[in-house]
Symmetry: C2
Subunit: 404 residues, 2 copies
Amino acid sequence: MRASTYPLIDADEAAALVLERTPVLGVERVAIADATGRVLAEDLFGEAPLPPFPSSAVDGYAVRAEDAGRTLRVLGESAAGRPFDGSVAPGRAARILTGGVVPDGADTVVMVEDVTVVGEQVTVPGQLREGTNLHKVGADLRPGELILRAGTQLGPAEIGIAAATGRAFLPVHRRPRVALMSTGDELVEVGKTPARGQIPDSNRWALLAALREAGAEVEVLGIAPDEAEALRRFVTGALAHADAMVTSGGVSVGTHDLVKPLLESLGTVHVGRVKLKPGKPFTFATLEGGKVAFGLPGFPVSSLVTFEVFVRPALRKMQGFANLQRPLLPVRLGYDAKPTAERTEYQRVRLRRDGRELVAETTGSQSSSRLMSLAGAHALVRVPAGDQAISAGTTVEAMILALP
Amino acid sequence: MRASTYPLIDADEAAALVLERTPVLGVERVAIADATGRVLAEDLFGEAPLPPFPSSAVDGYAVRAEDAGRTLRVLGESAAGRPFDGSVAPGRAARILTGGVVPDGADTVVMVEDVTVVGEQVTVPGQLREGTNLHKVGADLRPGELILRAGTQLGPAEIGIAAATGRAFLPVHRRPRVALMSTGDELVEVGKTPARGQIPDSNRWALLAALREAGAEVEVLGIAPDEAEALRRFVTGALAHADAMVTSGGVSVGTHDLVKPLLESLGTVHVGRVKLKPGKPFTFATLEGGKVAFGLPGFPVSSLVTFEVFVRPALRKMQGFANLQRPLLPVRLGYDAKPTAERTEYQRVRLRRDGRELVAETTGSQSSSRLMSLAGAHALVRVPAGDQAISAGTTVEAMILALP
């Protein structure tokens, strides 16, 4: 047993290094039904105008504005999908339904509520304005207009506009395939009764959830063998189909920690220790074929915090996100945030509204093993290394996980 | 063709009515691997303490604090999962690895960096404090402590803490099964070339994404028939396996709108028109067997805004969410928000940071057919009905869809 020989790297420097070494994955075309949450790989531009024809916004009568106040003869009907083929001459009108094509000749639509109908005659109000109650060609989208930028995540409205322009498939970045495993002799499968000194493997399920939320396709590999050669076979097998590997545990400095030596033998370990609390043993390596490996610490909070700080931005880079980081919002500290001498600390907080402000309250003991400090947390507050506490009442930027 | 006979209901009143009539779905047990995003159906309490044994936070030596400054004989090793069975008597120490059980007799752990080791002898520093570098039994969770409340959505940390307490399955509410269809003669399947007067059916794909994001299991049913009896068969077939039906289009007042009469014949239409912009034709009905039906307007923005205002909170109620609504944040208007005389309006905005504030900028023309007003929007600003514009610079509460 010896102290680690890996240099302690500044947390921001380590984060930059991870992103720099993480590749953007390739592009595939997905059906629009499968595009939710995916990240667009190309800018999309309008081709045809939207609407492609002048379309009624209401149910009523398509008329000429110059016929205001007159009683008009109704020639026919233009329903959605069933256009009226004729033209509306002076003194004439066509019934029109919402979404119907406004016939040639007509330049305005009068709502059904505003007319008097007797047989095939309709009397329209005395004041009519051209262009009322209709959507003009190209009013919603002009040809050549930028619809969506590459790097945009596809949500309902983004998928809607892409579909409205007739796209049945969309170019998106591939989702990262991640092999997930836990290491540690103390671990037993959740649901089995732990012997003395054993604990259920909770990290794997927490990280599975975190990986899925971040857009990864996860292969869950179980608890890794605790013997060097078996672990090597296990890991190289897992990596055959994966873009990335995420392990938790086994990256501390004890005699039984096999992950770092293995990663060294398989590629290059760029980060072996970080000035971060929780999460000092975080390890990052690049492997053959552009693959990356994240060795997360075994303590549950450390594994999830290092996931947030290093892994999630990397997974977002892989998927082509324009925006790699969690949003930041200003929050007023509701407690004195005590710093750690030489490590950047991410403290877990709950947020509550106080007037126009968000107030951050600590989730209690910030021990790296206490998951209750992260369950229900709304944000992470970054406390720079040093000896200066940030006093309650100070406004700081918080990394938002969820709004209250 | 006639004006609608449904009363125009206030938007808040309609939203309350929808929630009141929407049932909470039943409970099922899911494996922890499948629990991401699900909603806990029962309060969870701690049973055994966490950690269940005194556990080392570091790699080092388990000793007695009273032995400070002495050279101690190392008796053996306590690694994670491989406890040291003996007891640490005065003048003795045990090697210990992170996560290892602190042996009986030892009351503190000295980090490997702080000792001098010669053979089987270890010299510890002159100042030792009981309880250092170890996690005491129950420090992370006490028996009987409330872990998670019913109504909590299960994310990484929540799943982690549940797994850490040994739960392999969790009680969650069933996800709503939703039958989704579009109606409208003007619709063609995305990817097919529209004839004059036709447009691609974009709503179905936008709503599919919205439904999935809201936690629903969706059966996508295509474009509904435009003939009353065929539509009835289509809908009753779809409802056999669904908890809810979502249609878009066909709820306006035109002659070809078949959805409302059908819903009337199958159940009770509680809402047929709402003082809402966009989204006036929104329809809500309850059907036999506790099922609910949402008739969304055909205009794309109207369908997504009524989804946000009415359907999403209802789907969250079905799933047992404690929190049914989008979060609200104060935003400063970067534009003059003009109201609509008799309808509550939800205006789509982008947000940007300006110092400590979020500033809301309009997404441009708010036409109900212009999806570009919603693509990339960060929030909805609720503008009450009336004739009072809300001036630029005013701070209002915005319904947050995504933070910038």
